[in-house]
Symmetry: C2
């Protein structure tokens, strides 16, 4: 059994490291950082997408949400006939549209950070072959959970989860930005210290934790907005969060963005 | 010193009960419930707005946000020449517009429930006569806090505070509604139980606590949206929250709305 990963970013490499059997990756167009991660995960390199598609029984797509559709298209056009697994943070409708390209499709969603310790990260899976895919991680530090409802259901779990976690982080940063712009930060922080202790620390953590990844959250929040709208629910929480993360996109890869830096960026995009 | 309150709802009566000196209210057009609250707070009844305006040195407006402007207009047109205090949940711009009607204006914002026990509730005040108004509650169970920045600053504190508290409550209910509509509630609740313990209980509390007051939060969230927009920040969190609370407006006055009831109302407005 061989499983291919598109691509071994931090999350993809951690999924590959925990996966049974051969793990393949395709080096065409990828960076040296990706090569290092893939090697550390014990993955086997192939040189082209055609080779990957030919050798893999299962292909797992792990990429920024905005790239998920294009990755699926290229794999489909290369004639892949195994099980295609999309674990990206995309809307149920986007997941189902991708699924239509493949004879065998499993929808997925990852909750938690790249899986390096047991208990940190869960892979939700739905669709006919979900149990078969889950078996690839049996006994590993990555926990798998099956979701009823077919293709789209696992994505819905991830979307709902991120709507709250990433939505509240964006709202908290936008609120701090508003207090700063309105000149009332000291009074707001006094009030929070009185009635919501810990919220200021949460804002500091939201800035430091999300700034480097904010560029990637924009597409995810747009997928979340589409999902709310598809069910007749207000999409403004997610469109506003996308806007906040778009204003923070310049922190990509930085390790030391402060709350003050983030507030300034959100105020003056 | 006589202070008039427009009007002794639950919050207004609690502010009046804690206030020094004579406390007046105007019974014209008010309900028997208001009369009971005013009597319990030890307030003196006057029959008309003209009498209230003539006798009061300070007038405090405590009403739903959507009524704040109209209350101010009627008081101004009645020729009030004392200190007008607006403590409603309105945008800084709305507060300043109201302030222009009066020679002496203090901007306010109340954070916390109706003040019945010490430490629960704070009245933020800004503007030239803020300290004079604060003195009315000195030594009472209502804490006053002065805010730098003139008219609009106290409202900004309240707006920022409610943007987070009422915004997150609405987002949480919308997220539960989305999970329900998408058929993935069991998986989402499993995940929350694993990684965000207490969040499900928070959703239950958000439904029970906010449903009876949701009708009133619509106007407040609209004021919050205006404030974000005025500072060039995304207003979608607040417009979406207004939408959620609008869908919940039918629970006005009910004491026993369940989370399931609220989810159904949010899904099918």
């Amino acid at each position: 059994m061989a499983t291919g990963f598109l691509h071994p970013g931090a999350m993809g490499a951690s999924l590959a490291a925990a996966c049974r059997g051969s793990r393949l990756w395709c080096s065409d167009g990828r960076s040296e950082a990706t090569r290092s991660r893939a090697a550390a995960a014990g993955m086997e390199e192939v040189a082209s997408l055609d080779q990957l598609v030919e050798r893999a029984d299962v292909l797992v797509s792990v990429c920024p949400p905005a790239a998920a559709s294009e990755v699926a298209r290229s794999v489909s056009e290369a004639g892949f006939d195994g099980i295609y697994v999309d674990v990206n943070a995309i809307s149920p409708a986007s997941a189902r549209a991708i699924g239509k390209r493949f004879a065998r499709f499993v929808d997925g969603g990852v909750i938690g950070p790249p899986a390096k310790v047991a208990g940190s990260t869960r892979l939700y899976l739905s669709g006919e072959s979900a149990a078969e895919v889950a078996a690839l991680w049996e006994g590993s530090l990555l926990e798998t959970r099956l979701v009823e409802g077919g293709a789209g259901a696992a994505s819905a779990v991830k979307i709902c989860y991120a709507a709250w976690t990433k939505g509240t982080a964006a709202l908290l940063l936008a609120t701090r930005a508003l207090a700063s712009a309105a000149g009332v930060e000291p009074s707001l922080l006094d009030e929070w210290a009185t009635s919501i202790p810990g919220l200021d620390a949460q804002a500091e953590a939201a800035a430091a934790g999300n700034a480097p990844k904010a560029w990637r959250f924009v597409g995810e929040m747009e997928e979340i907005a589409k999902t709310f709208a598809a069910f007749g629910l207000p999409d403004g929480f997610a469109t506003a969060a996308a806007d906040v993360y778009r204003r923070m996109a310049g922190f990509k890869g930085t390790a030391d963005a402060s709350l003050g830096d983030v507030i300034s960026a959100v105020i003056e995009p």
